[in-house]
């Protein structure tokens, strides 16, 4: 198997970052990678994105934090994380041992917080790129999410970009009327790439207790259920911006990856599927290699945006 597929050219480039294949893991769904070492040959992945990091440690939301829905799940983890300083001192070492690019996902309450985190990550060995999660509420603007207002999204992007020495990927929220507006704004703000989608805002009710199923009442919907929305937004954004687009949302298999690439994605991230099948990411890489070989493609890059419209 390995030898049969080794010839396939799966490499792609994301804003100057070369990935040996387009399969990344999505933030918050792959821990700090080492959790998956028993199951996955991490070196075979395109890149690993770690859980969102804030300036200060966050405890996250009270339980219950997750609930299953039809072909999906809601989470209200509440961005539990150790904070950027402990991330650097405690988590980076094991991440450095992984010889794939590590993308650090960051989040904040204010533009300054985003910038500050990005500053502390400068020159930290092993950080290949920064992914900016702009789905968080802007506490200075009454809690409106950064990712829902073009100006705010652009401002966060520009602030992070200014201090960063690595490519900056901006992760878009799908909870907007027109995602292309936001994509254009972050491109103008200097983003090297966009990734999308983050979770759709959803809710579940437990009829027996007549309470919300999540302590936080609302949460983020992910998994196969959201794939059609994700594909549509990736398609729209890929036609709008000229920076690379990273597709996210309900991706489980190599077939899913290829569908997102046809719609315009240069790379993808696998999220919820890691919980169901910890080997999903590696199996997707294997499937891509088989596809490139079987279809006699010169490179997987031929698939990017190659959707046939009649």
């Amino acid at each position: 198997m390995e030898s049969e597929i080794s010839g396939a050219d799966l490499s792609v480039s994301i804003g100057g970052l070369r990935l040996k294949n387009p399969v990344m893991t999505a933030s918050g769904t792959f821990g700090y990678a080492k959790e998956f070492e028993p199951y996955v040959n991490l070196h075979r992945l395109g890149a690993v994105v770690v859980k969102g990091i804030s300036l200060e440690p966050r405890a996250g939301n009270p339980p219950p934090r997750i609930v299953e829905t039809s072909c999906g799940m809601l989470n209200a983890i509440g961005l539990e994380n150790v904070g950027v300083d402990r991330f650097i001192s405690e988590k980076m070492e094991s991440l450095q041992a992984v010889t794939v690019p590590v993308v650090v996902n960051i989040l904040g309450d204010t533009v300054n917080e985003y910038r500050e985190i990005a500053e502390r990550l400068v020159d930290v060995e092993g950080v290949a790129a920064i992914e900016v999660n702009i789905s968080c509420p802007n506490v200075k603007k009454g809690g409106v999410a950064f990712g829902t207002v073009p100006e705010m999204a652009a401002a966060v992007t520009a602030a992070v970009k200014k201090v960063s020495s690595v490519p900056v990927i901006v992760k878009l929220s799908p909870n907007v009327t027109d995602v292309t507006n936001i994509a254009r704004a972050v491109e103008d703000g200097g983003a090297d790439a966009v990734s999308l989608i983050n979770t759709l805002i959803g809710m579940a009710v437990d009829l027996r207790s007549r309470r919300p199923a999540l302590a936080n009442v609302i949460g983020g919907l992910s998994g196969p259920a959201i794939k059609p929305v994700a594909l549509r937004m990736v398609y729209q954004v890929a036609q709008t911006v000229s920076i690379p687009v990273i597709g996210i949302g309900g991706i489980e298999t190599a077939e899913d990856v290829l569908e997102f690439m046809l719609a315009g994605a240069t790379a993808v991230q696998i999220g919820t599927a890691n919980f169901v099948n910890p080997r999903a990411s590696e199996e997707a890489v294997e499937g891509l290699a088989r596809y490139v070989t079987e279809q006699k493609l010169i490179s997987i890059r031929e698939m990017i945006g190659a959707l046939v419209l009649s």
């Binding site: 792959f30 821990g31 998956f36 339980p63 934090r65 997750i66 799940m73 989470n75």
Partner: protein, 262 residues
């Protein structure tokens, strides 16, 4: 690390009562490495509904190649699992979690309620083998005799004496396991290994605290991954704000947790 994702074959299917099923799965990797209190994540069905794996305690191992899960049908996942047949395959992830801490010098005491009895069977078998001089005390309860009897038999086959309680009085004490425990003279080096519904474990925590006894509990939470990646499975903890049931637990020293008393 020694965790595995495997297609395991079902080699035995037992319907213990109308809604309780025991599956025996063939997996040398998992069976030979599992410790009592650990669990597996099982995928019910091939489709995407239900999507996530379901956590089940490892309730026994044998021959270093078989292990069992014991479950009650409560929803879509367990109902699908109850329709599998011998010879079919289940995708299993495990063994996961930390397991019970055991010391042969302690007076080990297994306290279980309902499906919480599942991991205690494994622990009982383990203790009989590892600490043959000091067999554990077993106190278990359930709603009715129909649910409890098959499990009592399993403990008795290990040569253990079993104290029982049922909600309806159909077997043993009519009431809670904790009532039974109160009638037993427990030594100060007793170590309680508890698994059951939350209110029972909360009560056991208080019971042990008052008497200065060591108390280990196995916590049930909603789990998406079972391996420390999703951060969904938290329990309020005294060390830090939250602990993660799948990776810090599922077994905790009851003293380390924050208990919500209704």
């Amino acid at each position: 690390m020694s965790q595995f994702q495997e297609k395991t074959q079902i080699i035995r299917f037992e319907q213990l009562s109308s809604d309780i099923v025991r599956l025996t799965l063939d997996s040398p990797d998992i069976a030979s490495r599992a410790k009592p209190g650990q669990f597996v994540m099982v995928k019910a069905g091939e489709g995407r509904d239900p999507l996530l794996r379901r956590p089940f305690s490892i309730s026994q191992t044998s021959n270093e190649r078989h292990f069992q899960i014991l479950f009650k049908v409560v929803g879509s996942g367990t109902s699908i699992l109850a329709h599998y047949r011998v010879g079919e395959y289940l995708s299993v992830l495990g063994p996961l979690g930390n397991g019970y801490q055991v010391d042969c010098d302690d007076d080990n005491c297994l306290v279980g309620g309902g499906m919480g009895i599942a991991p205690l069977l494994f622990l009982g078998k383990w203790l009989v083998r590892v600490c043959p001089q000091n067999p554990p005390l077993v106190v278990i309860g359930a709603r009715t005799a129909a649910e409890l009897s098959p499990l009592v038999k399993d403990f008795e086959e290990l040569g253990l004496r079993v104290h029982t309680a049922t909600d309806d009085g159909s077997l043993g004490h009519h009431g809670f396991v904790i009532d039974v425990l109160k009638t037993i003279n427990l030594g100060s080096s007793s170590r309680m290994h508890v698994c059951g519904p939350y209110p029972m474990m909360a009560a056991m925590h208080l019971f042990c605290k008052e008497r200065g006894l060591s108390c280990q509990v196995s916590m049930e939470t909603h789990m998406a991954c079972g391996m420390g990646a999703c951060l969904g499975c938290i329990v309020p903890s005294r060390k830090g704000v939250y602990a993660h049931a799948c990776s810090d637990g599922p077994v905790f020293d009851a003293k380390e947790l924050v208990w919500k008393v209704k």
